[in-house]
């Protein structure tokens, strides 16, 4: 079972949420990458193996048979068995149930089908940019980075735009749930479910579940060309989705569909404002949008880590891992691995062979929305070049103290 006293050095602390209110602790990760093998990172009354090198993250990510997503939890702490079942979504599943669930939703997110949304993304982006330019300055997160992806995913899901503000509000409460700061009481939104049974321990999850169920009911009666209709019809085609699966999937799409891209767009804007010579390269040659998009993703690393649990005794980077041990992939570290990237701490919009792990390190749990996120970021950069918009940072970013999502709460920007 769990190695309580593993041999060798211990990892420096990289789980303290407060570290991330400042920035990713790059030096600590660099120190860990330089050590042979894996370092054991104490956490709570136990700990985990910290996987920090690009090549090792890839190995764990691709080997879903050895490294389970369904045991314990995919976050650092274990959930009790009933809570894990109640909260289980695509992210916390293994094959074959993962394969079945993923296939029910996969078609909506293939590159071919995502391309169909390009004009929608462009319209939403243009409107937000025009408003920001008209204002001249303001909070980039609240005015552009947050509304852009949530409006896109809600349009795709079939949520009426009149309800967008309500879902943005719920999503913001969920983000709080990834840190230690919850500002709403357990019974908010009429919640009566124990918080531990809800995603992010948040009563906002209850409200989101309820909203999703009402929308599903509506789409059963009045089908539309949207993802919720696809999901409720999938129920009728032999491939069935249970009520619990539907609400967890709806919840995941709303949260993951906006929070992570919002984070990428926030860090991207900060990076472009702080490296004006890099943004000038894109303005001068808009064909660089593609490589700039990938660099924004690498730079942002919106999801800092994901956890797996060893299904059997195994070995990684020469370190023996026991069945049941937690194995944590630090994407934030892999994306700055000097063995993979030249000058990894430099922001370079022309970077080639940019095999970043912003969407995970490969394998069946690769980000479902990767092509949508890429489209949103690329369209934003294109529309900024079309309008010749350059940003100037007028304040420090306020960062979310979370070791899981590298959130930016707000950052003041001005149009130059």
């Amino acid at each position: 079972m769990t190695s309580l006293s593993p041999p060798g050095e211990l990892a420096p602390n990289v789980t303290d949420d407060e570290l991330y209110a400042v920035d990713i602790p790059h030096e600590r990760f660099a120190q860990m990458r330089a050590q042979p093998g894996l370092l054991w990172h104490p956490h709570g009354d136990n700990g985990f193996w910290a996987v920090t090198r690009h090549a090792d993250v890839r190995e764990v990510s691709k080997d879903a048979e050895t490294y389970s997503s369904a045991i314990g939890h995919t976050n650092l702490w274990d959930l009790e068995a009933d809570a894990l079942e109640a909260r289980r979504s695509l992210i916390d599943s293994d094959a074959p149930s993962h394969t079945r669930l993923r296939r029910l939703i996969a078609a909506s997110f293939t590159p071919k089908n995502i391309r169909k949304w390009e004009q929608t993304v462009r319209d939403i982006t243009g409107e937000l940019l025009d408003e920001f330019v008209a204002a001249g300055s303001g909070d980039w997160v609240g005015m552009v980075a947050a509304p852009l992806p949530i409006r896109v995913i809600l349009t795709m899901l079939g949520v009426p735009l009149d309800d967008a503000d309500y879902l943005v509000e719920l999503s913001n409460y969920l983000v709080e749930g990834t840190s230690d700061q919850q500002s709403i009481p357990p019974d908010a939104f009429g919640n009566t479910t124990e918080l531990r049974l809800l995603p992010f321990n948040s009563p906002a999850s209850h409200a989101l579940f309820e909203y999703g169920e009402q929308l599903a009911e509506l789409r059963r009666r009045e089908p539309q060309d949207d993802i919720v209709t696809t999901l409720v019809q999938a129920e009728a085609d032999g491939e069935t989705l249970t009520g619990g699966e539907f609400k967890n999937l709806f919840h995941l799409l709303v949260f993951a569909g906006n929070e992570t891209t919002r984070t990428a767009i926030s860090h991207g804007a900060v990076a472009l404002a702080d490296h004006p010579e890099q943004w000038q390269r894109v303005l001068d040659d808009p064909s660089m949008v593609e490589s700039a998009t990938e660099e924004v993703l690498r730079w942002a690393s919106p999801v800092l880590h994901m956890r797996r649990t060893a299904r059997t005794d195994c070995e990684l980077a020469g370190t023996r891992i026991a069945e049941g041990d937690k194995v944590v992939m630090w994407y934030a570290s892999a994306n700055r691995d000097e063995a993979m990237f030249d000058d990894p701490l430099a922001f370079d919009v022309g970077r080639v062979d940019n095999e970043h792990y912003a969407f995970g390190g490969g394998g069946p749990h690769t980000c479902l929305g990767a092509f949508l996120a890429r489209l949103e970021i690329a369209v934003l950069l294109e529309e900024m070049t079309n309008r010749q918009i350059s940003l100037e940072r007028t304040g420090e970013p306020v960062r979310l103290p979370s070791n899981f999502v590298r959130g930016v709460v707000s950052v003041d920007m001005a149009v130059q």
Binding site: K62, T99, R102, R103, L104, A106, A107, F109, T110, P111, K112, N113, G362, G363, P364, H365, T366, L368, F371
Partner: protein, 71 residues
């Protein structure tokens, strides 16, 4: 012809595929997800250069693509 350019035939494991569409984007003359299906199919001869095949095998998130070894 170098070994990397020599044609090989590829296949998609229908049990493993999660329908990400990565292969279709990579080479839509070889891989297609039919409109009425969610998993990728190989169309045509399924032949591509070994280096191309190794690239798409690496990119496929589900590990569903492989080279058909000659008998």
């Amino acid at each position: 012809m170098t070994p990397d350019e020599a044609p090989v035939r590829v296949q998609v494991d229908q049990e493993k595929c999660i329908g990400s569409g990565t292969c279709e984007m990579f080479d839509e003359s070889t891989f297609v997800i039919p409109d009425d299906d969610v998993v990728a199919q190989v169309v045509g001869s399924g032949e591509m250069s070994r280096s191309q095949a190794l690239t798409v095998i690496e990119r496929c998130p589900s590990g569903a693509i492989s080279i058909v070894e000659a008998d």
